[in-house]
């Protein structure tokens, strides 16, 4: 029987977790949220360690120490690598849930089969399926984001993919039902590892058809799965703390996934049933269109004359590591009394909120980061919209061209600004291969080159100019 003190500690920890997330509602209190989370986890670990059944302190200390050895360096990755770090930590969370579930099953089977009631067995199977599929799925996502050589970057699709995946999943469910009905039967000992294997394969299959632009949604979904596997573990262990913390994590992943879906005009079922990447199928546009390009000097002059400049960053800014140069440009413009805002699209980058973190790293005050819905009504008053490594999220075809694969997706209305500068690496169409109508607009001038270099040149030009005053 768990002592009341331990139960009380779990209760307090649950409340602290809720506070931790509550304090994330504004950047001003967010760090308090981290402290609440640390306190809650410490309390939970301490209380569990104090349980009478827990011995072998050297094992526990050793594993915790190993966690620190790997965890500390993982927290120091450059911020451009945060998406893959997040994916990797989902993998760790998944494998932890899967292994605990596996251990529980064999343990109870040997010692106390009566413990494995249909309720607990259902939870346990849910735990291992979610845990192991999150493990391999997140590893694949990590590989794609890190651009590991043997992980295909482009979506891998084959005929009958959905049928095959559904078949795998259905097979796992059938096996699961047999194990739930009779966990002590001889075939259960074969079916259980088979379920694990199927979940591991399913995780890989789930991620290979996904392209980079869909990563924010996928990471959010994997986040949700990791939480739900903790919930399932809570049901197995009768731990309300695990259920609470897991449910918080599960709903967080769910909400983020829904926000991402809305921002791409995709239905949630469309994403859930693995149709990821389909939207990326490019269609070649027939007519030959012409870009207008602009020189650095010309662009600098226009920027100098502006009252209101909106910078629209995208994944390209992260790739080029251009955020610090962007900060210098921001400073140069601010110095001239020009108002500078950043327009952030919810799916810009490779995970929810990616751009905000990069810009915050470059010391840009978060008060100048504006959400899409807030900035769009003001776009016609904007003198210059500067597009840095963003593409689909500013493509007006999403509003006008019904045949476009991104039709209906909410975009930042860069085309409504008085003038637009778009920085683009080369004249080839983007990764998705979708023509961006913005680039051919009357008001748009292209600045070709690496984002970091182009902005660096702009800063130099502006700095030189101000010296002559």
């Amino acid at each position: 029987m768990t002592p009341s003190v331990v139960q009380l500690a779990y209760l307090v920890a649950s409340a602290l977790f809720i506070f931790a997330l509550h304090w994330m509602n504004t950047p001003a209190t967010a760090r308090k949220g981290v402290y609440a989370g640390v306190a809650a986890t410490t309390l939970a670990v301490g209380a569990t360690w104090a349980e009478p059944t827990v011995g072998h302190p050297l094992w526990i200390i050793g594993a915790i120490a190993a966690g620190f050895v790997v965890g500390v360096p993982l927290s120091l990755v450059p911020l451009t690598a945060v998406p893959q770090r997040t994916a990797l930590s989902h993998a760790f969370g998944g494998v932890a849930a899967g292994l605990v579930g596996t251990a529980e099953f064999y343990l109870r089977l040997a010692e106390n089969p009566a413990y494995l009631t249909p309720f607990r067995m259902t939870a346990l199977i849910a735990e291992i399926i979610l845990g192991y599929l999150t493990f391999t799925g997140s590893l694949m996502a990590t590989g794609k984001l890190q651009e590991v050589k043997w992980v295909p970057q482009r979506p891998v699709t084959f005929p009958g993919q959905n049928v095959f995946n559904f078949g795998l999943f259905a097979l796992a469910i059938v096996l699961a039902v047999t194990v739930v009905i009779n966990p002590t039967a001889p075939w259960a000992l074969l079916a259980f590892p088979a379920i694990i294997a199927l979940a591991l394969v399913f995780g890989v299959m789930l991620i290979i058809p996904i392209g980079g632009a869909d990563m924010p949604t996928v990471i959010a979904i994997l986040n949700s799965y990791a939480g739900l596997s903790a919930v399932a573990m809570g049901f197995v262990l009768d731990s309300k703390l695990l259920i609470t913390a897991g449910a918080l994590d599960g709903s967080s992943g769910l909400i983020l996934a829904i926000i991402m879906c809305k921002a791409m005009n995709r239905s949630f079922t469309n994403v859930l049933f693995g149709a990821f990447g389909q939207v990326q199928q490019a269609k070649a546009s027939g007519e030959e269109k012409v870009y207008k390009s602009e020189t650095i000097e010309g662009a600098a002059q226009v920027l100098e004359q502006a009252n209101l400049v909106v910078i629209i960053p995208g994944y390209g800014m992260a790739v080029a590591q251009a955020q610090h140069k962007v900060r210098e440009l921001y400073d140069q413009l601010k110095k001239r009394g020009i108002t500078v805002k950043f327009a952030i699209h919810p799916v810009a980058g490779r995970m929810p909120g990616h751009m905000n973190v990069l810009l915050a790293e470059a010391d840009i005050p978060y008060t100048d980061l504006v959400e899409m819905d807030e900035i769009n009504p003001d776009m016609p008053q904007v003198d210059v919209a500067l597009v840095v490594g963003a593409n689909d999220v500013v493509n007006p075809a999403a509003r006008t061209d019904k045949s476009s694969p991104i039709y209906g997706m909410p975009i930042i209305d860069a085309d409504k600004a008085r003038s637009v500068f778009a920085i683009k690496r080369s004249k080839n169409p983007g990764f998705a291969g979708i023509d961006n109508a913005l680039y051919f607009s009357d008001r748009t001038w292209m600045l070709f080159g690496d984002a970091k270099n182009v902005i660096g040149e702009l800063v130099k030009e502006l700095a030189g100019g101000s010296g002559m005053h």
Binding site: L21, T41, F68, A103, A245, P365
Partner: protein, 104 residues
């Protein structure tokens, strides 16, 4: 199903609603730190891992537990540290930024 199981289901449903309510209010600026924070929070699976690792169980069972404990602990440590590291970077305009005084 006995009362205890129904109680756990109630906790799940209520906690999910609290989660939906609380997360909906999280600032969009902070969605990346939110994700690393929830990562660390869901590593509460560490509780299950400790129970398995520390129990008087066969060796192979405890090895599974120890690996799970290691994985959860990695998430706890790196999750909280990186969340704090990112949050430290979010500054409002009040601080004396270069050229701030010249803003019109």
């Amino acid at each position: 199903m006995n009362n205890e199981m129904w109680a756990t289901l109630y906790v799940f449903v209520l906690a999910s609603f609290i989660g939906l309510g609380v997360i909906r209010r999280v600032s969009r600026l902070l969605h990346t730190p939110l994700m690393s924070l929830t990562n660390a929070i869901s590593a509460i699976a560490v509780v299950g891992a400790i129970l398995i690792t520390g129990g008087d169980y066969p060796l192979r069972i405890r090895i599974l537990g120890a690996v799970a404990l290691f994985a959860s602990m990695t998430n706890i440590v790196s999750g909280f540290l990186i969340t704090d590291r990112m949050l430290k970077m979010f500054k409002s305009e009040k601080k004396p930024a270069g050229g701030g005084a010249e803003r019109s």
